[in-house]
């Protein structure tokens, strides 16, 4: 019975003893994913679930006609900041692709709207 108990707990032991590394996924963003904000944000901030490798992590922001409106990306730990120009009312598309410190690549995209 003890052997069976240990066998059942083994997966938890494996997980519990693992280093704190995994795929980096978007935990939240500012502006919020799919949200409408009243005025132009000064930047788009992406919060990931793991630390990123800055050299291999990118993001961009495009307007409704596909023109880029971002200028510069900075990465600190698990946070990526994307500078944007003053955004007139409209819908904007954010695309990101990042490399976590354990070498897994992930990507995603979302939109937000600046209120009209």
């Amino acid at each position: 019975m003890r052997t069976l108990t240990l066998l059942g707990l083994m997966p938890f032991l494996l997980v519990g003893s693992a280093p704190a590394r995994a795929h980096a996924y978007l935990d939240r963003a500012s502006p919020l994913v799919g949200s409408t904000v009243a005025s132009s944000p000064g930047q788009v901030t992406l919060y990931f679930t793991q630390d990123l490798e800055p050299r291999f992590s990118k993001a961009e922001v495009r307007n409704a006609v596909g023109a880029r409106v971002d200028h510069g990306v900075s990465v600190s730990g698990s946070v990526m900041r994307v500078g944007v120009r003053t955004l007139p009312p409209g819908t904007y598309h954010v695309s990101w692709r990042v490399l976590s410190v354990d070498t897994h690549t992930t990507e995603g995209a979302f939109s937000f709207t600046v209120g009209r």
Binding site: A22, D102, T105
Partner: protein, 327 residues
């Protein structure tokens, strides 16, 4: 002196199940993550371990026996797109009025090639060959005394490439599989103690087909709209699976189509997922009443990214090269 083992186990358990930030892992195709489904295989090759998968149901025997299955499945990538797997299941049968029997079912193995991965359309395909190895299981629980080969085609498709106007529908995804099951022996001869003679039973060839419909709350939050739900809900993927088999030749005289439908939910964490599904038989030959299955599934590529969690022959890191958006 009392053993410290219980305390250590308790600490390890507490660390393991402590709340984690919203994250998914593993079979990722573009922005889409396909979880490991419980009853049908997912469309990717992977480094993962299902330990255990537990199923309890009343099987299709007449009269129906109460069956408990405990399974383990291990998958290993050889390269980024080629992987192998091996699995084993311990079975306990309790027929009404009869003795309880138990033993291991036949060993299973598989090899798969993930030959198409289209990130922009969240579309992936895999070709595989699954083998159920005859004579490796216990005759007492009915393990087949012959080997069965099943070449199978798998696919997965997320609907994140729908226009933004589709809104919440973009969080849906489907997976599917279709295979052709070929026993290596056309028939099986067994001794019937009742008649004192031998009985020959045909081993039919079958089409095996299944799939899943999934709704990804992690995808909804990260790619469509952040509803600011409690964190637990952002980890959930409600799912309906179906897994069916239809005899097409060398029929055995029984019900031609058998299978189950499995509605449930999968909770996805950083390093593991937990799934719970009902087992609903499609007809009496598939079972009697509703059963249940549960699974703990470990993402070895996230737990051990630099050792057993990476392909034996990996492409040069980073895996997908420098990120690029074209301009």
């Amino acid at each position: 002196m009392p053993s410290l083992l219980p305390q250590r186990l308790a600490v390890a358990l507490a660390v393991a199940i402590a709340p984690t930030s919203t994250a998914v892992a593993h079979c990722s195709v573009g922005a889409r993550f396909f979880p490991a489904t419980l009853n049908v295989d997912d469309p990717c090759v992977a480094d993962e371990l299902s330990l255990p998968t537990i199923s309890r149901f009343r099987n299709g025997d007449d009269p129906s026996a109460t069956e408990l299955d405990l399974s383990v499945d291990y998958s290993k990538r050889i390269t980024d797109t080629v992987g192998i797997s091996v699995g084993s299941t311990w079975v306990r049968l309790r027929p009404p009025g009869g003795p309880t029997v138990s033993g291991f079912d036949n060993l299973t193995s598989g090899v798969g090639w993930q030959f198409l991965t289209d990130a922009s359309h969240e579309f992936v395909m895999k070709a595989g060959l699954d083998v159920d190895w005859g004579h490796t299981g216990s005759a007492a629980i009915g393990a087949a005394p012959f080997t069965t080969l099943t070449p199978t085609l798998f696919f997965g498709k997320g609907f994140g490439d729908l226009p933004d106007s589709a809104g919440w529908l973009r969080a849906f995804a489907i997976t599917g599989q279709v295979g052709y099951s070929v026993p290596t022996d056309a028939s099986t001869v067994t001794f019937d103690p009742g008649s004192g003679g031998f009985v020959t039973t045909a081993n039919p060839r079958s089409i095996v087909y299944g799939g899943s419909l999934q709704y990804s709350m992690p995808y909804l939050r990260s790619n469509v709209v952040d509803l600011q739900l409690p964190d637990f809900f952002n980890h959930l993927i409600p799912v309906v699976e179906w897994n069916l088999e239809t005899q097409v030749s060398n029929l055995d005289g029984g019900e031609r189509t058998t299978g189950t439908i499995n509605p449930g939910v999968i909770w996805v964490g950083n390093y593991y997922q937990v799934g719970l599904e009902a087992i609903i038989p499609v007809n009496r030959a598939s079972g009697d009443g509703v059963g249940v299955m549960a699974q703990l599934h470990l993402y070895l590529d996230d737990i051990f990214p630099n050792t057993i969690g990476k392909p034996l022959f990996a492409s040069s890191a980073p895996a997908s090269g420098r990120p690029s958006f074209g301009n």
